[in-house]
Structure formats: structure tokens, C-alpha cells
């Protein structure tokens, strides 16, 4: 089984427990207006205008071999493999196969996902996923449709299903100034975190404008949010901490 991998990040220390390798797969059904990796939207390999190729077709064995190079680091830190994207659930079969093989080698598996997938996909992946890094971009469904271009109902449904089935969950909340950092959204996030018994923590992911140049080169467009002021992220962490009993930290 193959998928197009557009980046492999080693020594990742913010994407799940311990030291991890994050494998980024191309392909995403969402269109977050602030997206930091628009080069991941198309599932196929593509090129920037200067000829630079985006992505590489890799088999799950090739990916696993690369990931296993850092096994010593996972062993001593409780780390492992994190699959991200794009949206890794978009490559269901590949993700499931890679995780099954990784678990066969004793690796911890973490899935960084928007949660936007059919219920059956969540069910399939839950068998081989140790920890879910679950993005919540916004809780107001109209705004969500507007800002992310998909409905958030399946996302929340899947999240509740995982919670009911005892999955380990860390909520990841991108905070985009002026877009989703308003009071009601934070309050709703706090309530959601408290309501779900399996949510271990909430990570606040501060806005980074990494997608703008890449989008421009690809003839795409992403929203350029105003750069957050100094202390913005800490302020959000502080606010959210007061709105939930779950630990909140900077992601």
C-alpha cells in the first residue's frame, strides 16, 4: 500500500507523548481558511512552479523503516509514530496498515486528525491508534462551515464515539486571531473538554502564517490573520484554563 508523504519530521516533541516522528500525508477534504499546509490539500504529488516536487509516493514499509531509525528515542521517551497531514483519515487503508505494522514493532501510534471522516473509518483506525490528537477548529456549526468548508457535526459525532469507546484524546485547538478566539468558542471548548471523560488535555495551537507563501506559489489562497501580539498564546491558555477542569497547555 502506498501514500504520498510530503514531510517526515523527526524529533517532534509537541505532537503526542515523548519524542516522535511525524509523517505527513497528502490529501485533505477540509479547507481551513488559515491552513498552514495548503500543499497537502491535493492527494497526488505535485510541483511548485520552480519544479520542486511536493511529496513522494512511499509504501508503508518504506515509511516504517524510516520511522524505526529513531526507535531508541521512542523507547526511552514513550514516544513513537504520529501520522498527520493533510488529513490522514483520508488515506484510511494506508494509515491503518502503517499503524498496524508500527504496533507490530512495539511503537506507540498517534493520529493527528480533524476527525472529519465516516464513522466506519474512525472505528477501523481506533483499533490501531493509541492516542488521538483531535483538532477542534470551532464549535459553532455555521462558522465552521464558513471557515473550514465542511460541517462539524460528523467531527463532533466521531469525537463522542471515541470518547465513549475509551480512546485517549488530546484536543488540539488552533487559535486564529479574530477568527475563532472569541469568548463563546472558548467557553464551548471548555464545556466540551469537561464533558468528554477521555480528553486528557487541551492543547492551544497558536496561529502560524506558514501557509501563505506556499498557497501563493500554488495559485491558492489562504487567509492571512493579523500576527498575534506578544503573550497572546499564554493569554488564551490562561482563559481556557479557567473554562475547563482539564489541563490546558501550549501545543
Amino acid at each position: 500500500m502506498t501514500a504520498v508523504v510530503f514531510e517526515i519530521e523527526k524529533f517532534a516533541t509537541h505532537d503526542g507523548p515523548g519524542i516522535r516522528t511525524v509523517v505527513f500525508l497528502k490529501g485533505c477534504p477540509l479547507r481551513c481558511m488559515w491552513c498552514h499546509s495548503p500543499e497537502s490539500w491535493k492527494p497526488e504529488m505535485e510541483r511548485y512552479p520552480d519544479g520542486t516536487v511536493i511529496g513522494r509516493e512511499m509504501t508503508s514499509d518504506e515509511v516504517l523503516a524510516e520511522v524505526l531509525r529513531d526507535k531508541d528515542f521512542y523507547d526511552v521517551s514513550g514516544g513513537g509514530l504520529t501520522l498527520s497531514g493533510g488529513e490522514p483519515l483520508f488515506r484510511t487503508a494506508f494509515s491503518a496498515e502503517l499503524f498496524a505494522k508500527a504496533k507490530g514493532k512495539g511503537l506507540s501510534t498517534a493520529l493527528e486528525t480533524s476527525g472529519y471522516a465516516p464513522a466506519a473509518v474512525i472505528d477501523q483506525l481506533s483499533a490501531v491508534t493509541d492516542i488521538w490528537l483531535y483538532d477542534i477548529k470551532g464549535l459553532d456549526s455555521a462558522r465552521h462551515r464558513d471557515q473550514v468548508k465542511v460541517d462539524n457535526a460528523p467531527i463532533l459525532r466521531n469525537l463522542r464515539w471515541l470518547d465513549a469507546h475509551g480512546a485517549r484524546i488530546i484536543l488540539r485547538c488552533p487559535m486564529i486571531p479574530g477568527v475563532n478566539d472569541f469568548k463563546e468558542n472558548l467557553a464551548a471548548l471548555g464545556r466540551l473538554a469537561d464533558e468528554l471523560k477521555c480528553v486528557e488535555r487541551v492543547d492551544v495551537e497558536p496561529y502560524v502564517p506558514y501557509g501563505i507563501d506556499k498557497a501563493r506559489k500554488l495559485g491558492l489562497k489562504v487567509y492571512e490573520a493579523p500576527l498575534p501580539p506578544m503573550g497572546y498564546a499564554d493569554e488564551i491558555v490562561g482563559k481556557l484554563s479557567r473554562l475547563t477542569g482539564k489541563p490546558v497547555r501550549l501545543g
Binding site: F11, G18, R69, F73, V76
Partner: protein
């Protein structure tokens, strides 16, 4: 830190240790008068005794020191040890004067042809190597702490006296060594008693003394009557003994002692006994440890602008952690105290040499990580899992091996057993440079023929020719070390020091004659990463991709990559594999070079009859020698910096932490005695738990040593603009730590340019 509880102590110490003290003579008037008197007596004695030998002069120096020694006490400190020399650079007077007088033997007795000094210390020597030991055996010694903690100097004296009584009549030389040592040991006793007398005298004129100061003097007046002539019986005496042994042997024998021992491992028993008996409270212990650390820190205030590195290096490393003789991890109250106080007092020194293992307690490793996160990069981390088995293989008992101490910047040894020398650097990159540019001067001076690589047809031929040049140079230098280093015994004997090291008393031979049991001489390969990178580039461009011919590439190097062709080739070079990228090519070449050198070195015997052992590290020379070296095929321009130890070249590395550590871990480190990887981690990616994991991986991979920095470029740049806000920010330069704001711009910029692992 003005106004803190130790400001009075800091002020007293600062007044005594002037900025740059580590390389200066003591400025104290009484000390200077004392040194002058001793030197005058030795000069007079030398003139009156034209046939004297080095042991005669040592004996006279001991007697003269006994007459003129001036004890230096600080009323704010309970410690007595200051002899007016920095034990790490005790080449200072008066022992230095003995060495200088003895140095005349070289000429008087024709021990070493003059031109050999030119070769080994002169222009050629300085360009290709740094040799510290063979010609002036006064560097990187490990004080005999455990011997003195166990039996005191008196116990050593008793054994020497006993050996003298049993010395065969025919062994006049052995008898003289023992007799001289006895005089020296008695001098140490006299010195100790002078401290007691001085403290008593201060108390008798106690008008100006505050109660705490009088308490300090009373402690000294009592303790210095017996310890460390007798072994320490309290935690306080133990702490003092560590300092005393280091300083006094520097004073009497002129040996440079580059260690302060293992406070937590060796004094824990005394500490706990004191607590149990009610002789000591934890608060008092914290105060003692603080004053113990501040005494080291005062040797170099950290305020001196650092230009070269050795203007900032008092060589006072304290070893912490690891395990005890029974293999039990050492992570006790004293380890915590030392780490906490070092941070709280904002100490640059002592350097903290922490022994770690894959099985070290999490709390210990995380504590080190916490200090790093706080900007306190004062650590060299020694891997027990590599070092202990290595010492066992060298013939030490397991219990002794577990007691190893970290010395200098990165050299491990077992105190009271090992007499080593470790600052002999050989620049492999210079051989590469000389090979490319045909250095006729070097060839003539060393009677070497360098083989050219220009016409080679295969990569293996290039590699083998370069290695051939290197190993011929290496053997040539080693044979000179062995031949002329042996003369050292006739010039700089250390009788007292010898008697404190295992084998010295039994053999009745000075350590400089090979009289002690373990005497490795460490030879370090410098800038190997640049050579590996150069070879990788040659292979890729000239023999695989055929981007250019070898002569074309070498011409571009000789032209410092000038012109469009030079720039084009350099661009291709920078795309080739390099050391640290964990590729089969670079890992394989590094391994090949290390293994070949270790094979070729096996069986080489040093001037003291011990083995030559291999290491890779480099001190400040990665910048200073780089500045005077021409371009190399790894893409370096003329004058650019070189690589440090096993760290990848800063000019090449773009990969992350795991890749670099995997590359270093791919080697068989068992072929080396020691090595260093000075690696900088990006602060954003790190926390104490991640550091803990990195340390465990370093151990698992069998590396010898990690010197971690934890940096944020934004913070460093802000420190350049607002130094007053970042006074506590410490960085590890090479073997030494400095306050970032005390570095000169050249060094600051070098730190800022470092590739941060993430």
C-alpha cells in the same frame, strides 16, 4: 549578585583572585614575597650545587616552601587550601620555578635536540598539533582524592617510610625518590599546620571579626591541626580535603590538577553521619556547599571578556552522579544540593561533570534538563555505560572503574590509580590541507614525504593516500613523544604526587618514569568531521557523479572556491553526504578512519610505558586553528571554523537531533578512550523530560560524552542588545562554559550561528 547572603564572601574572593587569575600569578603581597624568597633560595642553592639533579632540586624546594609558605585565609570562608597557585594551572610559582630551573637540564644534559622543540612546539607543531604532555608533564592530572580521604597524607607517609626501610641497598634512585617524597609530605603537613596557626592568630586579633567569621576561623584552627594529614571525619573536613589535595599538590609538586573530585559520592557517608549525630543541619550543609562552590567560581568571575577561551578556564570540574563502587546510583541530597546551589548562586564554575547512565534515576536526569532549560549550560555528561566497562577492559577492578572521576574538559580517569595526560591534539584536517597544498616545510621538518592525491584514479586510492600521509605523520609524532617525553623524568619529577598513586610506592619510581600502574596518554584526532566531509565530496563529485575531475575539484579548493566554476563545484559539494547526516557514506568513512587509526595505534607504547589511547575532541582551536587554515574540499572557505569532536561541521549540518545522534551512535565507541559531542538543542523543542530521554539515548548508543547547549537564537540576539537582562545565560563553548554576555563578539556570533538540533 550584590546583596545576597554571600556578597561578603564574593567580595573577599574577588579581591584575591583578580580577573584572569587562572593564567596569572597570585597578586597577594605576602604570597609574592614568599615566592620571591623561595625562588631566591633555589637560585642560590642551584648555583652552589652545579651537579644537582631534578630530585635534589625538588627536595630543596620542599624545604624552602616549608620555611616560607604563607597561608591564605578568607574570613568569610571556612575552607583552608589556598596556596597562591591555581591548582589547575599550578605551573605558577614557586613550583614553576623549580620546573624552569630543571628545564635547564634539557640543554645541560643534551636531553632533547633543540630543533625538536621547534618541531613540536614551534610553528610546525602549533599548526598541526598541540602537545601538552611529553615536554612539560604538568597538565590534566587527577588529584589522588580517595587515597587522602581514606588514609590521609600521614597514611601515605607511613607507607613511604616503610618502603624506604625495606628499599634494597642497591636501588639508590628508588631510595632518593622515597626520601624526597618524605620531605615533600612533611612539607604538606607543615603547610596544613600553618593554616591552623594563621586561623588561631586571626582569632587572637579578632577585634574586627563578625561572629560568623570568628566561627570560620575557629573551625580552621581546630580542623587544620589534623586534617587532611589525618583522614576527614566530618562533612566539612571532607569538603575541605577535596580543595586542599587539589591545591597543595599543585603548590608542592607543580602538577596541574584538573579535577575537584566527587563530592556527592565520597562525602555522603560523612554527611549523613554528621546529620545523624546532630553535628550538622541541612541548612548548614547548604551553606557549606555554597561556599565550596563559590570558591571555585571566584577563580574566574565570569566577567572577564572571553577572547580565546583559555583566558577563561580555571579547570575546576566537579563530578556528580554516576554510581558508587557497588554500582548503586549516586543521586543523593548532596547531588541535589550541588545542582541547586550552582544554579541559585549563578556559578559559572566549577564546571559540572555529571556521570549518567541509561539507568540513571529520572529525577537526576530531569534536574540536569531543568538547569539547561534555565539557560545554565555548565555540563559535560559522561556515559557510565561506556566508560566503566572500558576501564575494566583496561585492567581496573570493577569497583575502581565505577569510581572514575571526570577531569579537565572531557577526560575520565580513576583517581589514585590513573596518571594521564590528555591534551595532545593532532589535526587531521591539517594533513589534508598539507596533502592538497604540498607543505614542503612540514615535510622537511618531520622528514616526511607526503603522497599527492591529485593523480589518483579511484576514490579508495585517494582515501588510502590521505590516510597514509596522516598515519605516517601520526607515527612520526608519537615516536617523538615517546623518545623525548621519556626525558621528562629527568626534568619534572613529582615525588609526593607519585606516592599517592597506586604503584608509586611499590615501584619507587616517579610517575614521570612510569612508576604508577595506569598511565595512558590520550591522543585526540581533531577535525575528523571536516576530513570525512571532504572525502564524501570527493567521492560523490569525482568518482560517482563525475561532476568534475579530482584535479578540477582540488584546484577549486586551492583557489578558495573562487569564480563561477568554484561556486558551482562548491554548490555540488554542499549537496554531498556529510558527517552527521546518518548516511551510509559518511558513517562508513568515519568508522573506517577511527577503526584504522585504532588498529594502527594498538601496541604503541608511550614515554611512561603505558598505552597511547585515542580520543576525538577539540578545545577552542576549532575556531582559532580554522582561522589560519586554507579552504578544504568540504566546502569550507579559507579561515572558516572547523568541526568539534563528533559534532557535525556547523557549516554543513541541516539535519535534526535524532539523525545526528544516530550517526554518532553508528560508530564503535569502544575503539576510543574518550570523545566529545558538543551539540546545541533548540530550546522550543526541549523540556526536562525530553532532555532525560536524549541523555538515555546517548548512553544507549554508547557515546562517551555529551556537552549539551539549549539555545534560542532570539534570546541570544536579545542578549547582544541587552546584556544586562541576560547575565545568567550560560553557554558551553567547547570544553568550557561562559556567560554568553562575557564572550567577545566573535565567540557570541559563533554560538548564534550554531545549527540548533530540533
Amino acid at each position: 549578585m550584590p546583596g545576597d547572603r554571600y556578597s561578603a564572601l564574593r567580595a573577599q574572593l574577588k579581591a584575591f583572585f583578580p580577573p584572569g587569575y587562572c593564567r596569572l600569578e597570585c597578586q597577594d603581597r605576602r604570597q609574592l614575597a614568599s615566592v620571591k624568597a623561595i625562588c631566591a633560595e633555589l637560585d642560590a642553592w642551584a648555583s652552589a650545587h652545579p651537579g644537582f639533579d631534578a630530585l635534589d632540586l625538588r627536595r630543596e624546594s620542599y624545604l624552602s616552601m616549608r620555611r616560607h609558605f604563607v597561608p591564605i585565609l578568607f574570613t568569610e570562608s571556612p575552607f583552608y587550601c589556598e596556596c597562591g597557585v591555581n591548582g589547575g594551572w599550578s605551573g605558577a610559582r614557586p613550583a614553576r620555578h623549580v620546573n624552569e630551573l630543571c628545564g635547564r637540564f634539557y640543554a645541560r644534559d643534551g636531553l632533547i635536540p633543540k630543533h625538536e622543540f621547534d618541531v613540536l612546539y614551534g610553528r610546525i607543531g602549533n599548526r598541526f598539533m598541540l602537545c601538552c604532555g611529553p615536554f612539560s608533564d604538568d597538565m590534566h592530572h587527577l588529584p589522588p582524592f580517595r587515597t587522602i580521604l581514606k588514609k590521609g597524607f600521614r597514611g601515605v607517609r607511613d607507607e613511604v617510610a616503610d618502603a624506604l626501610a625495606r628499599c634494597p641497598a642497591g636501588d639508590a634512585h628508588g631510595r632518593k625518590e622515597l626520601e624526597t617524597a618524605l620531605v615533600g609530605l612533611d612539607t604538606i603537613h607543615e603547610i596544613q599546620l600553618k593554616f591552623a596557626a594563621e586561623a588561631k592568630s586571626r582569632l587572637e586579633h579578632a577585634d574586627g571579626l563578625a561572629p560568623e567569621q570568628a566561627h570560620n576561623m575557629q573551625r580552621i584552627a581546630d580542623a587544620a591541626l589534623r586534617c587532611p594529614w589525618e583522614p576527614p571525619q566530618t562533612f566539612y573536613e571532607g569538603l575541605n580535603a577535596l580543595w586542599f589535595v587539589r591545591e597543595v599538590l599543585g603548590y608542592v609538586d607543580g602538577v596541574n590538577n584538573y579535577a575537584l573530585g566527587r563530592m556527592d559520592a565520597w562525602l555522603d557517608g560523612l554527611y549523613r553521619a554528621d546529620l545523624a549525630a546532630g553535628r550538622l543541619t541541612r541548612e548548614e550543609a547548604r551553606d557549606l556547599v555554597s561556599r565550596f562552590l563559590l570558591f571555585a567560581d571566584a577563580h574566574e568571575s565570569g566577567e572577564v571578556p572571553v577572547h580565546s577561551g583559555d583566558d577563561h578556564e580555571p579547570e575546576i570540574p566537579l563530578t556528580l552522579g554516576g554510581c558508587d563502587a557497588d554500582g548503586v546510583p549516586v543521586w543523593n541530597e548532596l547531588t541535589r544540593l550541588a545542582l541547586d546551589c550552582h544554579l541559585a548562586l549563578d556559578c559559572v564554575f566549577p564546571k559540572l561533570h555529571c556521570r549518567i547512565s541509561e539507568k540513571s534515576p529520572a529525577g537526576y536526569l530531569r534536574k540536569i534538563g531543568e538547569l539547561l532549560m534555565a539557560g545554565h549550560a555548565v555540563f559535560a555528561l559522561f556515559n557510565d555505560d561506556r566508560t566503566i566497562p572500558q576501564f575494566v577492559r583496561m585492567g581496573y577492578s570493577v569497583k575502581d572503574a565505577r569510581e572514575y572521576t571526570c577531569c579537565g574538559c572531557w577526560d575520565p580517569g580513576v583517581d589514585s590509580l590513573t596518571d594521564m595526560d590528555s591534551a595532545n591534539y593532532v589535526s587531521v584536517a591539517r594533513i589534508l590541507e598539507a596533502t592538497i597544498r604540498r607543505d614542503a616545510e612540514l615535510e622537511a621538518a618531520l622528514e616526511l614525504d607526503l603522497e599527492s592525491v591529485d593523480g589518483k584514479r579511484t576514490f579508495d586510492e585517494v582515501r588510502d593516500a590521505l590516510y597514509g600521509n596522516f598515519i605516517r605523520f601520526f607515527r612520526n609524532v608519537m615516536s617523538r613523544y615517546t623518545r623525548y617525553g621519556a626525558m621528562n623524568a629527568k626534568v619534572f619529577p613529582h615525588p609526593v604526587y607519585t606516592m599517592c598513586i597506586e604503584g608509586g610506592i611499590a615501584s619507587r619510581r616517579d610517575t614521570t618514569e612510569g612508576g604508577v600502574s595506569f598511565r595512558p596518554r590520550i591522543v585526540t584526532l581533531a577535525f575528523l568531521a571536516n576530513v570525512v566531509d571532504s572525502l564524501c565530496a570527493i567521492r560523490k563529485l569525482c568518482f560517482e557523479d563525475r561532476t568534475c575531475t579530482l584535479p578540477q575539484l582540488l584546484d577549486a579548493v586551492r583557489a578558495n572556491w573562487a569564480g563561477a566554476d568554484g561556486a558551482r563545484l562548491r554548490k555540488a559539494v554542499l549537496a554531498a553526504p556529510y558527517w552527521g547526516d546518518d548516511s551510509a557514506e559518511s558513517n562508513g568513512l568515519m568508522k573506517w578512519w577511527i577503526d584504522r587509526t585504532a588498529d594502527d595505534m594498538a601496541g604503541m607504547v608511550n614515554d611512561q610505558g603505558g598505552p597511547y589511547v585515542l580520543a576525538t575532541w577539540i578545545y577552542r582551536e576549532f575556531l582559532n586553528w580554522g582561522a589560519c587554515m586554507k579552504a578544504t574540499p568540504d566546502g569550507r572557505f579559507d579561515g572558516e571554523q572547523l568541526a568539534q569532536g563528533f559534532a557535525p561541521s556547523e557549516l554543513r549540518c541541516t539535519v535534526g537531533a535524532t539523525t545526528v545522534l544516530n550517526a554518532i551512535g553508528s560508530l564503535d565507541h569502544g575503539r576510543l578512550y574518550a570523545s566529545n559531542a558538543n551539540l546545541a538543542f533548540e530550546k522550543n523543542c526541549m523540556n526536562a523530560e525530553i532532555f532525560e530521554a536524549v541523555f538515555r539515548v546517548v548512553c544507549r548508543k554508547g557515546m562517551h560524552l555529551l556537552q549539551p547547549n539549549c539555545l534560542s537564537v532570539a534570546e541570544l540576539k536579545d542578549a547582544q542588545v541587552h546584556p544586562e537582562r541576560h547575565r545568567s545565560l550560560m553557554v558551553k563553548i567547547c570544553g568550557f562554559t561562559a556567560r554568553f554576555v562575557s564572550l567577545d563578539r566573535r565567540w557570541q556570533n559563533e554560538i548564534i550561528r550554531r545549527h540548533l538540533l530540533r
